[in-house]
Amino acid sequence: MQDQDTSVSASPDALRQQLQQIGLELASVEMMADRPATALSDLVAAAATASAGGPPEFAEALSLARAWASGGRGPLSAEARGRFALWHGWMEQAVTAWERGRSLPAWPADLPRAEPSPRPAPPRGAGAEQTVPLLPGGIDADMMQLFCTDCEDFLRDIEQGVLVLEERPDDPETLNTVFRAFHTFKGNAGMLKLVVLQRVAHELESLLDSARRGQLRIGRPEIDVVLAGADLFSRYVTAVSDRLGGRQTADSVALPVPAVIDAVQAVLARRDVAPPPAASRGTAKPMPPAEPPAGLMTVETSSIAASAEPTPEVAVAVDPATASAGPAAALRQAAASGSVRVDTGKLDGLIDLVGELVIAQSMVTQNPAVSGAADEQLARSLAQLRSICSELQRTATALRMVPIRGTFQKMGRLVRDIAVQLGKEIRLVLDGEETELDRSVIEEIGDPLVHMIRNSADHGIESPAERLAAGKPAGGTITLRAYHQGGFVVVEVTDDGRGLDPARIRRKGVERGLIRADEHLSDREVLDLIFAPGFSTAERISDVSGRGVGMDVVRRNIERIRGKVEISSTPGLGTTFTVFMPLTLAIIEGLLVAVGDQRFVIPTLSVRESFRPQPGAVSTVQGRGELVTVRGRLVPLLRLDRHFGIQSVFSDPSEGIVIVAEAGQETRCLLVDSLIGKQEVVIKSLGETFPPGRGFAGAAILADGRVGLILDTTALVRIRNHTTETAA
């Protein structure tokens, strides 16, 4: 039976590699008493193939071992494990002897040659969990930290890859990516002696390996299994991170390891009865499914034998497909081309210094002693210095920029989960994932995106039946698109669902007391209501969305990063959320204004317009409050000089400049002495000495090296009239 495939000539090397695999498996069987012997059985079968043509004792020993593994049904008994250990020792010696042409060692005396009667395995509880140590002995915290960081990357690859596989189950490149992720994960886990996790990774790796060799077709059950495995790792990584970060004190975490392994093996078991695929080799002879080609196994085992170092070279060598295009491959290649993880504190320090360098450079260039010099050589050198400085500044700023891809890819998983949960068919289309944004903006956009996508998937996309009735395809589509527009990054979430019904939202708004029944609102203003706190259009409270929190949080989070969100919808055709975000939180474009002898920066995003008021355009109310007529509307005026207690150069508003600032729906005119210009500034925090909410959003180093304060327009617009007068 074990001699099915005689095309593989027996060699001591191949057999030894199989024995190494068996040794690994035995070690994990030792760790997990209830682990079924399926993998062991498969390995023994593979070893039998490798030993074909060898001494007859091998065939005997292997068939004996196969019997002990009882065909993989149920876990090994303690006695069987002991027998296997002895057997394994003998086999290793025997292989060496065979290789050197010596006579085989004697069969161990206490190892029965007869087949013992198999014992029924005790049934296992379905919810069994395995405890995994968070800080394995002999491994320091830094190593674990590194492990966690790596794993996050792998998990992202896995999740993203699996979602691609759901669409294109045969995509060889994605199969390779996911396989490699598990493979490297296995290696890393092995290095840290996390044998249990290593096992799980090994099982999943085998599953992916079968798939990429065409022995298994990836379908929903397979994907569920892979995702369950990824979740298990993710739980472990989170637990380790929490432990390292001091957020939890437990030294181990219980994970549903047996359940995942069972699930993988159930899937793999089905593979055996699947019809053999049309092998790419083009030979008529079917390969035994459990026996992978020797070449591939060589690479795998050697990487395990080499203390399972996570060497990307090995993975690359195995998979020439890496070189092909595609986001996953590009990511891999970026990693291979040598990226460095840098502490953000260091990065910010560098960017600060570069900013200073640029200022120092302009101070030197503009110094009369230098700018007045007639030396042509000096002028050329200064011009070169200037161009290098500005190039350096651009490069330094670009360091913080990362593609939005990672955030988008997380949404793929979210959509899939929601679709499964709600019994809908939803396809997520990603566009513009390579759009780059500042890291801190990307961190802030994650939560709002989750809320918007939940909203689209839950409320927007209809059930398949409903869609068919409306003459639409049964599967809905959510499109996530990112692109640059002006100085902003725009992210759109579009669904082709039922759209928002203004009449219904209006009714709900009245019900919730958000608007009066007779209030006149445009459709756009009505749609805006869904961002109001406590508004939820869901008829029922669902697990996915509709808890009445969400959309108001979306608007708040986006406004916090100085962005804005808009909504548009066509009933029956779908809804689009459009989010405008600054490229970076570190730099804003601002209007530089003067008030007395001080200069302030007003963020351009919140400035609607600015003008010099005509004499008489400012009217006084009760001798105190002042109003300006802006395009026929009366807008309250805040004199910044009075508000900040600064001696202004004039008192008549018509000598100054009025800046119309807006925050949300509110508008206020700010009176300043003059406009100096438009400038991009790097935002710096004012620090603990200055509490927030005093009208300053931060500070910026201006071109002459002085500090200019950035006005918090939201606070100034929303300030109460009363306060203005107290300050005046």
């Binding site: 001080q598 508000h643 207690g645 004012l686 620090g687 603990e688 000495t689 009208g695 002085r706 304060l709």
Partner: protein, 175 residues
């Protein structure tokens, strides 16, 4: 119930070691030299409105925005004309978020770095409420006179605390 309330909550006594001493008017003060990052000349100050007078504003220290406190005003001394010996001592104080943060103080002039032994340092005397002794950690006897040792961590922490007060008298009623 006979104890006076002022020194009861005072800071711990200053530890022996090296201190940077500086003058404020006729008086001489000292801060632990380990808390001092650098001493710089006066530079253009950007005032921050709505802050108490002793918070002079912010300055640019090589690309970092740091707060600047006038220690004279902080200790209730009269304001003084700035002269060429006036300088900024940039110190590191404890940050509420953990770690340290830069904190600049304006002083009339820097004297020296002096070593004070435990025998040199006496606990702050009871001023009977006439002097704000909250930030004084000891009195050091030096050849040139008595140095008042102060704790900048306490001063900077109290900064944020006192700042909460003015907001209370800000009306927040809808007009």
């Amino acid at each position: 119930m006979t104890t006076l309330p002022t020194p009861a909550t005072g800071p711990a006594i200053a530890a022996p070691g090296k201190y940077l001493t500086f003058t404020l008017g006729q008086e001489s003060y000292g801060v632990p030299v380990l808390a001092v990052r650098e001493i710089i000349r006066l530079c253009p100050i950007t005032p921050v409105a709505t802050m108490p007078p002793h918070v002079r504003g912010v300055i640019n220290l090589r690309g970092k925005v740091i707060p600047l406190i006038d220690l004279r005003l902080r200790f209730g001394l009269p304001a003084a004309e700035e002269h060429d010996r006036t300088c900024i001592v940039v110190t590191q104080v404890a940050s509420a978020a953990g770690g340290t943060r830069p904190y600049g103080v304006i002083v009339d002039g820097v004297e020296e770095v002096a070593h004070f032994t435990a025998a040199d340092i006496e606990p702050p005397p009871d001023f009977g409420g006439a002097v704000d002794a909250r930030f004084i950690t000891g009195m050091a006897k030096a050849a040139s006179g008595v140095k008042v040792l102060v704790d900048l961590d306490l001063i900077s922490a109290a900064e944020s605390a006192t700042l909460e007060l003015p907001s209370a008298d800000k009306p927040s009623t809808v007009s």
